[in-house]
C-alpha cells in the first residue's frame, strides 16, 4: 500500500483468508449486514477489532455494543421479575435513504454504487450537520488531533484529518480484497453476516425473511442496509 501499510488480506493466514471470503453475490451487489441479536454475547470483540483495523483514535468508536435496559453490565428485569440480557451492536446503518447524504453541504458524504455510505474526509468542512441528521448517533467528529494509545499505527487505512467527521466504512479496504468487514470476521458467536442484499436467494435475504429481520428506527424511514434479527426465544436467567 502507498502509505507503507500491510494490505489486510496479506496479514491473514490462508485459513482465515478463506474463511473471511465474501462469497456469492448478484451481478450488481448492494452490500449489507445482518446482526443476530440471538447470537450476540456482548463481548465487544467487533468494536475492538474495528478500532484496530481502522486505527480509530482514543475517545472515538465507529462500532459499539449497547446493552438493552438501563445498565451496561447488569441484566434487565423484565415482566414477571425474570432477568434478561440482550445487546444491540451499533455502527453506521449505511442507509439507502441516508439523512447524512441529504444534508451534507459539500457532498462529502455520498453513496457508492454498491449502496455503502462513504465519507470523503479530504472534502469535509467539519460542519457536523451529518451528525445532527443521523438518527443513530454513529458519526464521530475529529474534535482534536488524534490521540492513540501507542505510537504504532495499527490500522489498515490512513489517518483522518483534524476537524472532519468519520464513521464505519464497512471496511471498504477489506471488501476490495474480497474479504468481509473486520467485525464480521472477528465475531466469536457468528452473530454478524455480511453479504448482498440484492441477491433474493442469498444468505441475507433468507435470514431476514425467515427470522423476521427488522430495521433499527424504522419509523425514520432511512432504509438501512443493516438489519437486526430478534431473538426467537428469550432465555431468562
Amino acid at each position: 500500500m502507498a502509505d507503507g501499510k500491510v494490505a489486510p488480506v496479506d496479514a491473514l493466514s490462508p485459513a482465515s483468508k478463506a474463511w473471511g471470503e465474501i462469497g456469492p453475490r448478484s451481478a450488481a451487489p448492494h452490500w449489507g449486514m445482518v446482526v443476530d441479536q440471538e447470537r450476540c454475547i456482548g463481548c465487544w470483540s467487533c468494536a475492538v477489532i474495528c478500532k484496530s483495523e481502522n486505527d480509530i483514535p482514543l475517545g472515538m468508536w465507529w462500532n459499539r455494543i449497547l446493552t438493552e435496559g438501563d445498565s451496561l453490565d447488569q441484566p434487565e428485569v423484565v415482566r414477571g421479575g425474570a432477568l434478561e440480557m440482550q445487546w444491540l451492536p451499533l455502527a453506521c446503518q449505511h442507509c439507502e435513504n441516508a439523512p447524512c447524504v441529504k444534508v451534507c453541504p459539500v457532498q462529502a458524504t455520498y453513496h457508492r454504487s454498491d449502496g455503502l455510505v462513504m465519507q470523503d474526509t479530504d472534502r469535509c468542512i467539519g460542519c457536523r450537520y451529518c451528525m445532527i441528521a443521523c438518527p443513530y448517533g454513529v458519526r464521530n467528529m475529529n474534535w482534536g488531533a488524534p490521540d492513540r494509545p501507542t505510537p504504532h499505527e495499527t490500522g489498515m487505512v490512513g489517518a483522518r484529518p483534524l476537524g472532519t467527521v468519520e464513521k464505519c466504512t464497512m471496511c471498504v479496504q477489506r471488501l476490495a480484497e474480497d474479504q468481509v468487514p473486520a467485525c464480521v470476521w472477528s465475531c466469536p458467536a457468528g452473530a454478524r453476516v455480511f453479504g448482498d442484499l440484492n441477491d433474493p436467494e442469498g444468505r441475507l435475504a433468507t435470514l431476514i425473511r425467515e427470522r423476521e429481520g427488522y430495521e433499527l428506527l424504522e419509523e425514520a424511514g432511512t432504509k438501512p442496509s443493516v438489519r437486526y434479527l430478534p431473538p426467537r426465544r428469550r432465555s431468562p436467567l
Partner: protein, 423 residues
Amino acid sequence: MSSAAPPITSDAPSLAGRVDRRALYAWIALLLAVMGIGAAAFLYQFANGLAVTGMRNIVMWGQYILFFMFFVGLSAGGLIVASAGRLFGVGAFKPITRLAVLEATIAVILAATFILPDLGRPERIINILLYFNPTSPMIWDIAIVFVYMAMSAFYVWLYCRADLARRGSWLALGTGTSERTMAREERVKSVMAWVALPAAIMLHSITAWIFGLQISRGFWYSSIMAPMFIASALVSGLGLVIVLALILRRLGRLAFPDSLVAMLGGLLGAFIAVEAFLLLAEYLTALYPGAPEGEAAARMLSGPYLPLFVFEVVVGLLIPFLILSQRRLRTSPVWVATAAAIGIFGIFVHRLNLVLNGLSYPNIDLPPGLPVGTPQVGSSFSVYTWYVPTLVEWLIVAGILAFGALLFTAAVAFLPLQEPDAH
C-alpha cells in the same frame, strides 16, 4: 426624553450631538481590543481543533450555531418591520426605517461570520461553492443569507443615497438628487419592499428548516418551527431596533416622537403574544398524547431544563408582555426599552433551549451511550451530555459581537440615519 428632542442636522458628517470625541475613540479602541482577543482565540481554536470548545459528539452544535440563528432572527425581524411599514403604508415607522434596515444588514453579516468558527475546517469553506449539495438545507440557507446580505446592504444605501449625494459624499456612487432620480428612487424603494419582505421571511424559515426538517431530532421535527422562528425573529428584531433607536435618540443621532415608541411597544407586545401562542400550540400538541414523541417537550418541564423553560416563558414572554400591555408604561421609553431588552434575552434563551434540548439526549440512549469523541478519564461513552461553552467560545463570540458593534458605530458615524422629512 420627550418629543422635543433637539433638531438633527442630517448632513452632519460625523458623530455629533452629545458624544464626546474621546469617549468615542475609547469605545472604538475597546472594540478593536476585544476583536483582537477574539481573533487570537479563533487562531488558537484553528490550531487545536474544536476540542477546545465544549462541543462533543452528543451536543455537536453549540454557542456558534446558537448565535448564528439568534442573529439571523435579529436581522430578519428588523427588515420585516421596516419593509412591512412601507408596504402597508405605515408612515409613522419612517423615522426608524433606515435604522431597521441597517440593523438587519449588520445582523446578517454577523450571522454569516458566526458560521466560520463553527467549522472544523474553516479553510475549506470554498468547498461550499465547489461541491454544493442542492438537497442540503444548509446550502439553501447560505444562499439566502448572501442574497439577503446583498439586498439589505443595497437597501441601506438606497435609503441614504439622496442624503449622501446632497453632502457630496462619494458613497452616493455618482447618483444625484434630480427630480427624475428621486422619482425613480421611490419606485425602486417600493419594489425593494416587495422583495425584502418575502426574502426576510424566507431567510428565517430556511434557517428554521436546517433544524425542523431533521427527523432524527424529535424536538425540532415540527412544521411549527418556521412560523415560530418568524415570530421569535419579530420579537428579537423589533426589540433590538427599539433599543438601538432609543440609544441613538439619547445620543442625539435620531429624532422621533414618543408616540412612535408607544406604537412600536404595542407592536412588540403583539409579537410576543404570537410567539407565546405558537409555543403553547407546540407544547400542547407534543404533550397531549403522552407518547414517546413528546418526550423532548416533557423534558423541558422537568429536571435541569425547568429553570430555562420558566425563564423563557415567564421572564422572556410574560413580563415584557405585561409591561407592554399597560398603556401608561408603553408611553415611557425606559419601560419599553426594558421590555424590549428582556424580550430579546428571552428569545436568546428560547433558542438555547432549542439547541440544548434538541441535542442532549440521543435517540438510542442505551448504555453505555455515544462515544464522546475525545480521550477522557474513565469511560469514553456518555448517554446524555450537558453543554457548557468554554472560555475560547466566549472570546470568539465576544470578538464577533465587537466586530458588529464597530460596524454599527461606523455606520452611525458616516451614514445619515435620519429621514429628512420625519418631523
